[in-house]
């Protein structure tokens, strides 16, 4: 009888647990897992938006992708953007965080000055930078003219358009990474610095040999966040350049949008989305194996 009673209690507990999970699971299934599976399914078919007819293509979409020069261009732009912007933004963030970690007068003001771009909608940020980058009346060119440099049509120049968007991204996200790193720096015991300083270790060496290893779990975390957030370049490309000039700023998220929404080719767009997911997943896996082992955990 006792066994029966506990079994019943256990079943009731499990029933309650499933009931509590149900709302989340329903939406996770419908809007995260089902779309991933469906995107895989679509990539083997010819799917046109609004047309219920679906034709099996096998690997044709993937073959097309392999030969699509614009795909490789968008892929290269995405990789370039990701691989340069994230380390640069994190380096900026780290220097800001280290500078603000000392008990500095006006610390809250500096912190807000670096952090506020995170609060600004990407569309507003993009627009302001279109203005800042403007060739004839933009303040950046006015400043450069002042020191005798020639005018550059930043966003209309196929060499400079993508780097210009990258500079803007660094401005937008460094403050976000800075806050997370600042939280990690607070946990580094100050007696470690004190001991090193007394031993005559320079500030630069203290940063490289004490600070960096001790906050490496957070640095690692920030890199992953940076990767997962990098899709937001879609907003900037959409607002600032629309992929141009001559596809110099066409990145994968934007190319997916063009294929899916402008050409209504859901099958090929799904193929692109799968490849992007694989690329970001692969980058995360590489980072996890290369840096994951070198991460130090302090007393955990």
């Amino acid at each position: 009888m006792v066994v029966g009673a506990t079994l019943q209690a256990r079943m009731r507990e499990a029933g309650l647990a499933y009931l509590l999970l149900l709302p989340s699971l329903l939406f996770l299934a419908a809007f995260t897992y089902w779309p991933i599976l469906r995107s895989l399914w679509f990539s083997f078919h010819d799917v046109v938006l609004g047309d219920s007819k679906i034709i099996w293509l096998g690997l044709e979409n993937y073959q097309r992708l392999w030969e699509d020069r614009l795909f490789w261009k968008a892929f290269g732009n995405t990789a370039f953007y990701t691989i340069i912007t994230i380390p640069v933004a994190i380096t900026c963030a780290l220097l800001m965080a280290v500078a603000l970690d000392s008990k500095l007068r006006g610390m809250a003001i500096y912190r807000s000055a670096f952090f506020y771009p995170v609060m600004i909608p990407s569309v507003a940020a993009g627009m302001v930078w279109v203005f800042l980058y403007s060739a004839s009346y933009g303040p950046i060119n006015q400043g450069l003219r002042f020191i005798g440099m020639p005018d550059t049509a930043w966003l209309y120049d196929s060499t400079w358009a993508l780097p210009a968007i990258m500079v803007m991204s660094v401005w937008k996200y460094s403050g976000y990474f800075m806050l997370i790193l600042l939280a990690a720096l607070k946990l580094v015991p100050s007696d470690l610095y004190e001991a090193a300083r007394l031993d005559g270790v320079s500030a630069f060496d203290r940063l490289i040999h004490i600070t960096l290893p001790l906050i490496s779990p957070t640095l690692y975390f920030v890199v992953i966040i940076g990767l997962l957030h990098s899709y937001q370049i879609f907003d900037y490309v959409y607002v600032m350049t629309h992929g141009g000039p001559a596809d110099a700023t066409n990145v994968l998220t934007f190319y997916i949008y063009q294929n899916g929404f402008q050409y209504q080719d859901i099958g090929y767009a799904s193929t692109l989305a799968n490849v992007l997911l694989l690329f970001v997943g692969g980058l995360i896996a590489v980072i996890a194996t290369v840096f994951g082992r070198r991460v130090h955990y302090l007393g955990r």
Binding site: R10, A14, L16, A17, Y18, L20, L21, P23, S24, L25, L26, A30, F31, T32, Y33, W34, P35, I36, R38, S39, F42, L49, S102, K103, L104, R105, G106, A108, Y110, S112, F115, Y116, P117, M119, I120, P121, V123, A124, M127, V128, V130, S134, S136, Y137, Q142, G175, Y176, A183, F221, L228, F234, V239, T253, I256, Y257, S270, A273, L276, L277, I284
Partner: protein, 295 residues
């Protein structure tokens, strides 16, 4: 984290040795300020540009000899910006969509986190992995097929279309589960002896104790979805359902750089609600992003 501008009072015996060190600290800080002030100004300059341009006359913007400050403050750019598009409707929609996502997420993560933190059931680890894996599938991997799904449900161009993909949050569930596990089980046991059921315990014991986590998560959710651009852009196509960022983007497109003063005034209107909240509750915002990290 509090900034202490001056040295705290020390006993005379210590202050003899501390005097040269405080000078050193002051020197080092002076050097830091020398680097940080220009950097902070550089970071603030786009915001300054928005504000200054929003008060200029239209022709001043294109005149290189006009100087940085407006000749006369043209406040009329603001009413002009607000009358050119239905910003009131956009604002209401933004509030409804962001509020809807916030309420839905807080509900789903509270229920799920309680199950993961305090109940035993078969398949717990597998299901928890399924929740966590959501973090690895951001919107770029799902927006296309989610658009097809939302279209099939006939929900395109409606406020719910902007809410439904974000109702469940794997990361939020994870955060809240961690917080729930910090709550001593004795408190829950005591409440149970007083005749509380699971929901009673959740409401009266757990939720009040994890308030900081709920607030941190809430702030990040609000900032993310208030500023969201890509998804609302895809699923809306009429004035009645557009949110503030979408409205601003449209205005920019139709103006195409012809009227920067009006556009910058509209930008001020769109960015100011969050920036004002940030200035007022700075501590809370900073703590949230510091410790809750991602979204």
């Amino acid at each position: 984290m509090t900034s202490l501008p001056s040295q705290t009072a020390a006993s005379p015996a210590v202050s003899v040795g501390a005097a040269p060190r405080s000078v050193l600290t002051a020197l080092r800080h002076g050097w830091l300020h020398l680097v940080l002030v220009p950097l902070a100004l550089l970071w603030l300059s786009p915001l300054l540009w928005i504000l200054v341009t929003s008060l200029k006359a239209r022709t001043e913007v294109f005149d290189p000899s006009a100087g940085f400050w407006p000749q006369v403050l043209v406040w009329s750019n603001y009413p002009a910006a607000l009358s050119v598009a239905p910003f009131g409707t956009y604002l209401v929609n933004s509030v409804l969509v962001t509020g809807g996502i916030l309420v839905a997420q807080l509900t789903t993560i509270t229920l799920a986190a309680y199950a993961f933190a305090r109940l035993n059931f078969p398949g717990k680890n597998l299901l928890f992995t399924l929740f966590l894996l959501q973090i690895m599938f951001p919107i770029y991997a799902t927006f296309l097929t989610n658009f097809v799904t939302v279209r099939e449900f006939g929900m395109l161009n409606s406020l719910p279309a902007m809410i439904v993909p974000f109702v469940a949050s794997g990361y939020g569930t994870f955060m809240l589960r961690q917080a729930f596990r910090q709550v001593p089980t004795e408190l829950a046991d005591a409440a149970r002896l007083d005749g509380c059921g699971h929901f009673g315990i959740l409401w009266h014991v757990y939720l009040p104790l994890v308030k900081p986590t709920l607030i941190a998560f809430g702030i990040i959710t609000v900032v993310t979805h208030w500023n969201d651009y890509m998804w609302p852009l895809l699923v809306t196509n009429s004035e009645g359902v557009r949110t503030l960022p979408i409205g601003l983007g449209l205005l920019a497109k139709s103006d195409s750089g012809a009227d920067w003063t009006r556009l910058m005034a509209a930008t001020v209107v769109v960015v100011s609600p969050l920036l004002l909240l940030f200035v007022i509750f700075q501590r809370r915002f900073v703590d949230s992003f510091m410790h809750a990290g991602i979204k």
